[in-house]
């Protein structure tokens, strides 16, 4: 680790000032701290957001669930409102990484980092959630822009994520055994307007699958998902899986997610 200065602002206004002056925001640190230890990342100044009260809290209002950016995975997994209104999201949070990761990692950190194999972005995108920042509100469809890239500007912080509550939803993943990240994860969410399907781990970043969405909007059944041909073209291949295997997993996990959503 290279030397750096550390500050822990108590208000969002102070946090924004620090970040505007060049400080790197530190949420749960599950990616940033590890890369700093490996000297792959060398921020000169850290602004630890854990003391900012405005960034915490989970509340349900009508058909919307709003989760503060600094909510730890463990808090989301255990929150009574999330479990009752959006159990698929609670389940996802409860199955990220391991116990240590869930105790520290945050939803805002995960979404802002946009790791191509992270779990949360698939829920955010499949739900058509809104990312609320210190500057504006961004629709999930506009937010995720591929490998570690998002619509966030320099100095812009996520304050909360607002999820419309789906009629039915489920998340299924198959873990890469070493990292415990999903090799492929599929989040399926059914709304009155139709079904949204977001895939993580399989491509350059989280993406929606039009073919599956179309088929499932017509018939929300595993068989309907099974009838969709999954093209391998844009998927990624690495040490752990070929494009063909990832394409297979998208199909299989979608069918399983639909079955799980149907109960």
């Amino acid at each position: 680790m290279y030397a750096f200065t550390y500050q822990r602002p108590a208000t969002l206004a102070d946090a924004v000032k620090l970040v505007a002056s060049g400080a790197r925001p530190l949420a749960g640190g599950q990616t940033l701290l590890a890369s700093m230890k490996l000297r792959l990342s060398a921020p000169e100044q850290l602004a630890d957001l854990s003391g900012v009260a405005e960034l915490s809290g989970i509340r349900k209002s009508g058909n919307t669930l709003t989760i503060g950016a600094m909510s730890r995975h463990r808090e989301v997994a255990g929150n009574a409102d999330v479990k009752a209104a959006f159990p698929a999201l609670a389940w996802l949070a409860d199955h990220i990484g391991d116990r240590q990761v869930r105790a520290m990692g945050t939803i805002g950190g995960s979404v802002a980092n946009n790791d191509p194999a992270a779990c949360y972005p698939s829920a955010v995108l499949a739900s058509g959630a809104t990312i609320i920042t210190t500057q504006r509100e961004i629709a999930a469809d506009d937010f995720f822009q591929g490998l570690f890239a998002t619509a966030l500007n320099e100095g812009e912080l996520i304050t909360a994520i607002s999820f419309p509550i789906p009629k039915r939803a489920a998340y299924e993943k198959l873990r890469q055994k070493a990292s415990n990240f999903p090799l492929v994860g599929v989040f399926v969410a059914q709304f009155d307007e139709g079904v949204r399907v977001a895939v993580t781990g399989a491509g350059n970043g989280v993406f929606r699958h039009a073919g599956l969405e179309q088929a499932l909007s017509q018939h929300f059944t595993p068989e309907s998902a099974a009838s969709v041909k999954i093209h391998a073209d844009d998927l990624n291949s690495d040490l752990h899986a070929s494009v063909a295997y990832r394409a297979n997993l998208i199909g299989v996990l979608t069918q399983r997610a639909v079955a799980k959503a149907l109960g």
């Binding site: 490996l38 055994k177 070493a178 990292s179 090799l183 752990h240 295997y245 297979n248 997993l249």
Partner: protein, 792 residues
Amino acid sequence: MSATSFSQLPHIGEALRRKEDYRFLTGAGQYTDDVTLAHQAHAVFLRSPHAHALIKSIDLAAASKMPGVVGIFTGKDIDGKMGGLPCGWLINNPDGSPMKEPPHPILAIGKVRHVGDHVAIVVAETVEQARNAAEAIVVDYETLPALVSVADAAKKRGGVVIHEQAPDNQCYKWTIGDKAAVDAAFASAAHVTSIDLINNRLIPNAIEPRAAIASYNRASDEYTLYVANQNPHVERLLMTAFVLNLPEHKVRVIAPDVGGGFGSKIFLYAEDVALTWASKQLNRNIKWTADRAESFLSDAHGRDHVSHAQMAMDANGKFLALRVHSDVNLGAYLSTFSTAVPTILYATLLAGQYATPQIHVEVDAWFTNTTPVDAYRGAGRPEATYLLERLVSRCAWELNIGQDEIRKRNFINSFPYQTPVALQYDTGDFHACMDKARVLADVDGFAQRRAESQAQGKLRGIGYSSYIEACGIAPSNVAGALGARAGLFECGQVRVHPTGSVTVFTGSHSHGQGHETTFAQVVAARLGIPVENVDVVHGDTGRVPFGMGTYGSRSISVGGAAIMKALDKIEIKAKKIAAHLMETSDADVEFVNGEFIVKGTDKKIPFAQIALTAYVPHNYPLDKLEPGLEETAFYDPTNFTFPGGTYICEVEIDRQTGEVRIDRFTAVDDFGTLINPLIVEGQVLGGLVQGLGQALMENCVYDDQTGQLLTGSFMDYAMPRAADFPMFTLDTVCTPCTHNPLGTKGCGEAGAIGSPPALINAVLDALGPLGVKDFDMPASPHRVWEAMQRQS
């Protein structure tokens, strides 16, 4: 004392909790990194980013001026001042010429040969300062093409010469067995089964990384090296005699608590030498602890064989002859015992549990631009077992005989048994292990379970593995004749204190094995004293007279036997003291349950009183006997020990995802006499998950062209987790070893040796109906799915 009477003593077979666990579980363990010496500096090693490159120049100007830098050394500084790392085992080619033994410099001289090769040692006041300075060193490399896989090495494609001493990159060819007899048997065989397989390369990953602190004392001209190591005396001998040319008595090596070795901490590593040497050059205590990335790149790796094997059988599936060829990867340099692993410790085990009359094995060993490969839990024996047990199950499938049946038809039934590949098994009962395992695994219910899996769209398979291993290495003279450059005895010293408590000094080393408990049980049982009155000291050349250390499951059978010999001497002397006190002759004194008794009388004296008398010799035969009660013994075994067993694995495979779930796993082992069954169970479980880790997920992968390690962290190198396994069903059979005084055989590696083929045979049994015949480890979902796709 006979092994039979020993096994009936109190405390033998008692499942005592481990004495050492209190300090480990309460954070009081003292590992090398916990040791802090006054005024210590910290070292960081600059490592090669290239697999193969010439070093054109190294510019230290900027680095030397960095804050906190104490000193920086490169290959230029050590060239001519010390030897290279020695190889401890000489292998000869069939024509009698010796293996190629190129230099293994402590710091690279002119050339780097694998990613992670050591280029410079940087010593600074803090670790971060040393890192900063290492980053400021400018090395001008001229990269060379790399030779990475053993398969490519064996093809002898020109262009890459790793060492000028080995222009075709071959270290040696080695053969064992009667080729003409094997060829003749194959010519008359009713059926021949062939197999090609890869034993995947592994990275050891002990929880505690390698670490060392070197200290030099100007007043006495003595060095002290604390190091995470499995055999401190061997470390000292190799370093002083072969590399630094120092008098051995001027170096003390201490291996305190060590957090796992698995073989990777047997070897003398360049870092240990560089630190020791630099501590005098800089007159500073210097600490180095590997970070995990360094461990991946610099701990000796394991396995990495490509093999072809054939079994000749008669019409009834009786084995007539076995023919094996293996290409083995030694990595860029010869690590300490690297040359013995794929030869002596591998091919001699290829008879397995079977009475195959003729066996011929040919091994070609290759240098590649990868991290050196050496002993890793099992060391050669897992490779032998994997090959043989995969082949045997394939024979069964081809002949349409049960996997259990073909094994039973070929088991060795009488002992001692001389194999055609040098070893002589002293004892065993292979049928008993198989029969017990079949019952515990409920083999009879398998067909029903398979049908239930099928009904859920899943595949189910059962796999067998009947392994044997040679442990307790070995008679020194036999090992010497086979090329060993060291002895393989063990030393034990028993010091009885005046109040009757005992300190045992053993040359064995515990890095997780629980010796402090097991050895204390042996001593307590023999002397009839409480286990808590016995302390075990190990891992310090300054306290233990000598030691060959712990590897090859040798501690109880060799180290324990040395302690038994010392106890024999204690008993003989104590009897003389007792005879004097009770005014009788030595021959009339018996030692039973901690008391010396005059035969046929009620006269007796407890052990503690003899101990006190030995140190307060007022009423004592001083004219015939020295005071004191302390004895040292060296024990050199007359043979290996031969643990064996049968493992049965049952898996269920998800057809859609290729996920393999171990549904049940049964292990029945014959370790001879058990001292502490709780510790044995722990050893077996650890071995099983290590072996199943290899079979299910662990895999070291290099980029074939660049030689970069692609699985260089836990993000890509999968280690097994508890949730990956069911509860294991374990049991034992006991045929005591016939040639050591404890009847023990050793249990440290069995699980890692026997389990991989059991799992892969189960996978193949499940996939068989789809037409899958070949499968190489690991059985990760992706690879299993691809195997299914290839067939459909």
